[in-house]
């Protein structure tokens, strides 16, 4: 994800509309690396990490930003989300995709001088999975054999995953519970980072002053002020670092960070405050950027909701609701064109994304058809005059405009009562969703991917295994046909083959509509005008290594 692809400086849309000169521009930039630029420290927007800087314990962007730049995993992702071997020399699956043999490249070292070995990975993953360590990201290891034993109360603090076996210093094997074609992609996220021996001796001290193996190394962390990283001279991987270091400046309010970019005190901001969303692209004081993003926005209609249960009536009503929403108009008018109407259940930056799945017409605004389907459903069981279609969302996330517009679109098309139902805070909102107390109302859902695979957008949200409180299937959608396709995709022999199967499974979702896809949030940000190389990677994070002054 860190390698500079010259064309990525243009958004996908620009590439399509002939951002042809990019190849030449990229060359010029690469040919003229001046010494001053390579030592410049770039200041970027950050927030105070919610946990110490330990990869397996970090699940939010405050700590995730610096950790992602400090650690190199077995594979890394290029800006298009394609996995490339990094520390791994080879990741090889057995015939039924349940066992992987991983060999490491030579010469990789941590910043304390100790070598990166097979043990650095197996011990780190076991630490992450062991419930005694209460690591936020422990669920990522759930596919590895022995995970369930490590999650039981009273397990030994140094117990390790039984599915991991060290063959020699540079080789280890991973046994999985079930076939997985996406495992070689999952190991690219930072929860799977290798850890040096020093970490296991004193995790607490490590969390304040991490030792890593990636493109950058830790320099200093002043709490609530900044986290500073400098270029790692011993780095052996494929990321081209074009600056001397990064300073993640801590802000509590993005408004203040944006004002600092305008005033020239901060180099890069990775998001845009609501107040500037309509103006940042024409603001003469900043260098704006907007690209297709990886965040999928939807609302979920729970299967427990009256009139929307599994069966003919529910399906008809879901399709009618979906077709009664004018996504294009809402994206353009309400969100200022900062979102792209959804055409599938993944996102444009993910390999496997598609614009023309079978049945994706249901995501297009079609008032007559919507009314027709709604009437058909009324014949099965009539929609009462007092019935209201409610859309719940958290009011602290700035969703009011969008949800009012959605409710109006549904109301005007179907001639039924519809309204937005705000809840004060995200915490309270999620609590009612998770405890299933929201059963008479649809509710806001969204997904920010962990790794660039359609599997990550589908398995955790719509599979039967993730329903009933065992995952993020908040609407308790269950369809054996869909589950079977996911399983088949998991056992596929190649990423291309599995992505095809994932698309087939999405076609089932387009018929059942467990959630109504709305749009993909664009990645948007701004930088000081002096900054060169500004671009977002597949997961809506600026490609920090490519920035220079």
């Amino acid at each position: 994800m860190f390698s500079l692809v010259a064309a990525s400086a243009c958004s996908l849309a620009l590439v399509l509309s002939g951002c042809g000169g990019s190849g030449d521009n990229g060359k010029k930039e690469a040919d003229a690396p001046n010494e001053a630029a390579s030592t410049a420290i770039i200041s970027v927007h950050g927030s105070e990490p919610a946990k110490p800087l330990v990869p397996t314990n970090t699940s939010e962007t405050g700590g995730g930003g610096p950790i992602d730049m400090m650690f190199s995993m077995l594979v890394r992702f290029d800006n298009k989300g394609k996995p490339v071997n990094e520390v791994a020399k080879e990741v090889k699956a057995n015939a039924d995709m349940t066992q992987y043999t991983i060999t490491l490249k030579d010469g990789w070292k941590f910043t304390d001088g100790t070598p990166v070995t097979a043990k650095s990975f197996t011990k780190a993953w076991s630490y992450g999975a062991n419930v005694n360590n209460a690591q936020m990201s422990s669920s990522f290891f759930s596919g590895i054999k022995g995970f369930d034993e490590l999650q039981k109360k009273g397990v030994a603090p140094d117990a390790e995953l039984s599915g991991l076996k060290v063959v020699d210093d540079k080789t280890f094997t991973v046994d999985l519970d079930s076939p997985s074609s996406t495992f070689p992609i999952q190991i690219g996220i930072y929860a799977f980072a290798p850890m040096p021996e020093a970490f296991f001796k004193d995790p607490k001290a490590f969390g304040e002053k991490p030792i890593s193996n990636g493109p950058y190394k830790f320099d200093s962390w002043e709490h609530n002020k900044f986290i500073k990283l400098v270029k790692n001279p011993d780095y052996k991987g494929g990321v081209k670092v074009k600056n001397g270091g990064l300073e993640f400046r801590i802000y509590t309010d993005i408004e203040a960070a944006y004002a600092d970019v305008q005033a020239g005190n901060l180099d890069v901001i990775d998001t845009i405050p609501t107040s500037a969303q309509k103006t940042f692209q024409t603001d003469p004081m900043v260098q704006p950027i907007k690209q297709d993003g990886s965040v999928f926005q939807s609302f979920t209609i729970p299967t427990a909701m009256k009139h929307f249960g599994p069966g003919k009536e529910g399906t008809l009503r879901r399709q009618a609701i979906s077709m009664s929403i004018d996504r294009k108009q809402i994206s353009d008018k309400v969100t200022g064109g900062l979102n792209t109407p959804a055409t599938d259940f993944t996102a444009p930056t993910i390999p496997g994304y598609s614009k023309n799945l079978k049945g994706s017409d249901v995501l297009k605004y079609n008032a007559p058809k919507a009314k027709e389907l709604w009437e058909e459903a009324n014949k099965i069981s009539p929609w009462g005059a007092d019935d209201v279609f409610k859309l719940a969302y958290n009011a602290d996330g700035g969703g009011k405009d969008v949800y009012d517009a959605l409710a109006n679109s549904i109301k005007n098309t179907l001639n039924i009562k519809a309204m937005g139902a705000p809840m004060p805070t995200f915490k309270e909102f999620r609590n009612s969703v998770v405890s299933r107390s929201l059963v008479d109302s649809a509710f806001r859902t969204g997904w920010q991917p962990d790794y660039p695979s359609p599997e990550n957008y589908l398995q955790p949200i719509y599979s039967s295994g993730a329903a009933d409180g065992n995952g993020s299937n908040d609407g308790d959608y269950k369809n054996p046909k869909f589950d079977a396709l996911l399983k088949k995709a998991g056992a596929a022999k190649s990423v291309e083959e599995s992505n095809k199967l994932f698309q087939q499974s999405e076609e089932i979702l387009l018929e059942d509509l467990p959630a109504i896809p709305l749009y993909y949030s664009s990645a948007k940000g701004a930088a000081n005008k002096k900054i060169k190389g500004l671009a977002f990677n597949w997961k809506n994070v600026p490609d920090y290594a490519s920035l220079s002054k």
Binding site: S59, V131, S139, K153, E222, A256, Q262, N265, K427
Partner: protein, 308 residues
């Protein structure tokens, strides 16, 4: 005097106990599970969540949690934040900058508030009085965040006269604009308060007597009018120190100052009971001490008041 002081200090104990219990209960009553919220949109790993809950005593009943907190607090062990930082060091980082900011705002509002109040009060009805009155009315009616954003945009972003945000290590210049914003509303109130007091006192009998005795105009103003007019102003200023520290929340967010207000705001969002209670307790103590100092100052300013 000593007895009075002792009584006042003893009174602090129930006040502090009462506030901690109340705040702890309020944070506890906040809807939503703070541990589940750590996982954000992602599914909650129940085994991990249970481990975290027991680590922070969140699995125990409310009253047990509160007494555990009290017991630890008495031994000066305030525990850790969810981020694994000792609460005491978080507080140690947050308070100095807020105190600096509040003191700067305090000095600003005291000096300019009293100064303009005197000018206005002594020139009642003249054009200088009118202008000061209108300006103070404007300042009172505009909310802090408007003054904050407007000043930030013009002085910081557009004209580059002062830093747009306080930055990493805020010094005098960095805190100047936030302090003016923070102190502006109180300054306007002090102007009006001082003006009213002076204009009433100026026509009092003792002032006339003093003039009749042949005292110079300056002596009359300073020794008689001002001394008597400033008693309510001192009360106001004393109570305002506490308000400035608590009220810095909005100003701190606008100018990205990592002080008490910002820390408290985030602790409430995350539902971190121990951190909220620890900060609020310190604020309560500051309030109580300030009002004690004000009461003692009365005796200095007004000879009629004596504490036995």
């Amino acid at each position: 005097m000593g007895k009075y002081l002792l009584r006042r200090i003893l009174q602090m104990i129930p006040v502090v106990l009462g506030t901690t219990l109340l705040i702890y209960a309020l944070v506890f009553a906040l809807p939503g599970d703070p541990v589940a919220a750590m996982f954000g949109d992602k599914p909650v790993n129940q085994a991990v969540a249970a481990q975290i809950r027991s680590e922070y005593n969140l699995d125990k009943p409310f009253i047990v949690q509160y007494f555990l907190f009290l017991k630890n607090a008495l031994t000066l062990n305030f525990g850790n934040t969810f981020a694994g930082q000792p609460v005491i060091s978080v507080i140690g980082r947050a308070f100095p900058v807020t105190i600096r900011l509040a003191l700067m705002a305090f000095v600003f509002e005291a000096i300019f508030g009293v100064l303009f109040g005197i000018i206005s009060g002594l020139n009642k009805g003249k054009w200088s009085d009118q202008i000061i009155l209108i300006l103070s009315l404007l300042l009172i009616s505009i909310p802090t965040f408007v003054t904050g954003f407007v000043m930030q945009f013009f002085f910081g972003v557009k004209w580059h006269i002062l830093p747009a945000t306080a930055g990493v290590d805020p010094g005098f210049i960095d805190l100047l604009m936030p302090a003016i914003v923070l102190g502006s509303v109180s300054m306007a109130s002090i102007i009006r308060l001082t003006r009213t007091e002076i204009s009433t006192n100026i026509s009092e009998d003792y002032v006339r007597t003093a003039r009749a005795k042949g005292m110079s105009n300056f002596q009359v103003t300073v020794r008689h009018i001002l001394r008597n007019s400033l008693i309510p102003v001192v009360t106001y200023l004393g109570a305002d120190i506490g308000a400035l520290m608590g009220g810095a929340m909005i100003t701190e967010r606008i100018f990205n100052i990592q002080g008490v207000g910002n820390t408290l705001y985030q602790a409430i969002l995350r539902g971190e009971g121990t951190l909220v209670v620890s900060i609020v307790t310190i604020m309560v103590m500051i309030f109580v001490v300030c009002s004690l100092v004000v009461d003692l100052l009365y005796a200095v300013l007004d000879p009629r008041i004596r504490y036995a």
